[in-house]
Symmetry: C2
């Protein structure tokens, strides 16, 4: 289930230690499994312009660690905060315009709210699990 060849051993230890978080590594099935989301969902995120995974010369998506991080942000904003994709996109744009790490501030807030009161009363679709 892995298309093992995509796991490039040279990725590790080539720079002495660290792994380049921008390096495109994960095929969509792997990425989807890591972030616990359906591959279809990741394709939608890309259609909406929320993520932009690189492609191989043969047009296959490859996700980097930063891509995964971004996906997890999307999941947090949509699932935990009930924000829809248009709102997420706006927040991303805003963060880029301002050059500030807005999102982290939001995350800290929601971490501090351990009293677990609903963020905006209503929630976004978290059904559709079958």
């Amino acid at each position: 289930m892995t298309l093992i060849g995509f796991y490039d051993p040279f990725m590790y230890g080539s720079g002495g230690k660290g792994v380049d978080p921008e390096r495109p590594v994960y095929v969509i099935s792997v990425a989807a499994e890591i972030v616990a989301v359906h591959p279809r969902t990741l394709r939608i995120y890309e259609e909406e312009g929320l993520i932009c995974p690189r492609r191989t010369s043969t047009n296959i998506r490859l996700f980097s660690e930063n891509d995964l991080r971004r996906i997890l942000w999307i999941r947090h904003l949509t699932q935990d905060r009930g924000i829809n994709l248009a709102g997420v996109k706006t927040l991303f744009e805003l963060e880029e315009r301002l050059g500030t790490r807005i999102l982290e501030r939001l995350y800290e807030e929601s971490r501090n709210d351990e009293t677990e009161k609903r963020p905006a009363g209503r929630r976004v679709a978290e059904g559709a699990r079958r």
Copy 2:
């Protein structure tokens, strides 16, 4: 249809010229008509914590000019940008936290996009008009 008494003549010209934008003036039916929204919608906005109109001693909502301005912001973000109420709430919170006029920047952007490309692909409910 007006509950005319709520229109306080003393509001005008009491300070020499300007009208206090914070002064609670409009009853919900009037406010709703001004911003072209159903009263039910305004009550929902209040339930969601997006607006906070003052109340008379007898518990009747009174909206100020600033309240109306805020409502128009909500309408812009939801109708033109497709952001849901949770997203709007987050943006408001963020603006308050940062002390910056984020929203105006967004509005300028959308004004500059005269090419009329859809903000996030999909749109929020703009149906339900009957």
